[in-house]
């Protein structure tokens, strides 16, 4: 065993421990914010494993997209929906969890026995690590051209869909007469006198605005 292999094995052990621990944290932590940050840890350690697998481009893409985009997106979503709420307790919650855990362990056991029992057809050819970007690019523009184009269409559709879904479609631009402003959101101060000049309606609108149009600040990030 030379230096390089030793480094490989040690870093594999560290990365896999990190990944399993962080993944368990994602699933088991009570606080959702911790889970989201640990998800970033899972992604980073998987990127490290990709480097061990001679895939520097995909590892970098993993960091860029998962850590830089997906994880930040999840964090944004958590900050937007982060209401302190106690979920109603379900009957037999513990039983459900134990059952699920057993089933999942069964899946894990099944998969690993399958993995260890299968005779894999290892390739003996040396890895083409140096030019992996070139090979991926050639694949994308020759035999995987259709999926590539479809993926770009999918991304466009997802972007439009996410914006449409997350957008607030109803922004009242005119105050309904029956609508009274909620008292919890106003400051305890003397209400401003309305302008009773010719543009009475306009002044009315301006006066009512702070209570009504609480526009979502970060909508387009999706």
């Amino acid at each position: 065993m030379n230096l390089a292999e030793g480094v490989q094995i040690v870093s594999f052990c560290i990365l896999s421990l990190m990944m399993i621990g962080a993944a368990l944290g994602v699933v088991l932590f009570e606080n959702i914010v911790y889970s989201a940050f640990l998800l970033g840890g899972v992604f980073i350690s998987i990127a490290g494993l990709y480097i061990l697998l001679n895939a520097d481009f995909v590892a970098t893409a993993q960091v860029l997209i998962y850590v830089g985009a997906v994880n930040v997106l999840i964090l944004f979503a958590i900050m937007l929906v982060n209401k302190r709420e106690d979920f109603k307790p379900l009957p037999n919650r513990l039983l459900r969890q134990v059952t699920t855990g057993l089933v999942c362990f069964g899946i894990f056991a099944l998969l690993s026995t399958m993995v260890l029992a299968t005779p894999w057809a290892f390739s003996t050819a040396p890895a083409a690590a140096e030019s992996s970007i070139v090979i991926i690019g050639e694949h994308l523009f020759s035999d995987f051209l259709l999926p590539f184009e479809l993926a770009s269409v999918l991304l466009l559709m997802a972007m439009v869909g996410a914006i449409v879904l997350a957008r607030r479609e109803y922004i009242p631009d005119e105050i309904l007469p029956g609508l009274t402003r909620p008292s919890g959101l106003t400051l305890p101060e003397r209400p401003r006198e309305l302008l009773t000049l010719t543009s009475g309606g306009k002044g009315d609108l301006r006066n009512q605005k702070p209570a009504s149009s609480t526009k979502q600040p970060i909508d387009t990030n999706a």
């Binding site: 896999s16 994602v26 699933v27 697998l53 995909v58 893409a61 997209i65 459900r96 890895a127 999706a222």
Partner: protein
């Protein structure tokens, strides 16, 4: 001892099992999405290790992984948008409360 394909595959299986567990047990909708991300990553890890150990010349597995990453990004965006709009409508992110289609 040399790093083997099996090690990576078992690791991916463990990650997949954890993801399934989270998918089923978690009640926060955002955590469900996170579990789905875990599942996708487990699949990706499989693809990448196959690509390195079985198809080292063609590395088609990496191409597939890139596609999966693309799909995962799209899935996260749309999924979180859906969670956001459900949250606006129902004022909760509890999965057990999302029962509009239940009868």
């Amino acid at each position: 001892m040399h790093l083997q394909l099996q090690a990576f595959l078992v690791l991916a299986a463990a990650l997949f099992a954890i993801g399934i567990y989270g998918l089923i047990t978690s009640r926060n909708a955002v955590r469900v999405l996170m579990s789905i991300e875990l599942l996708l990553n487990a699949v990706n890890l499989n693809l990448m290790s196959f690509s390195n150990y079985i198809d080292a010349q063609g590395i088609k597995g990496q191409v597939f992984a890139v596609f999966v990453i693309t799909v995962a990004a799209a899935e996260a965006a749309v999924g979180l948008a859906i969670v956001l709009s459900i949250y606006r409508n129902r004022d909760t992110v509890d999965m057990e409360q999302f029962n509009l289609l239940k009868w």
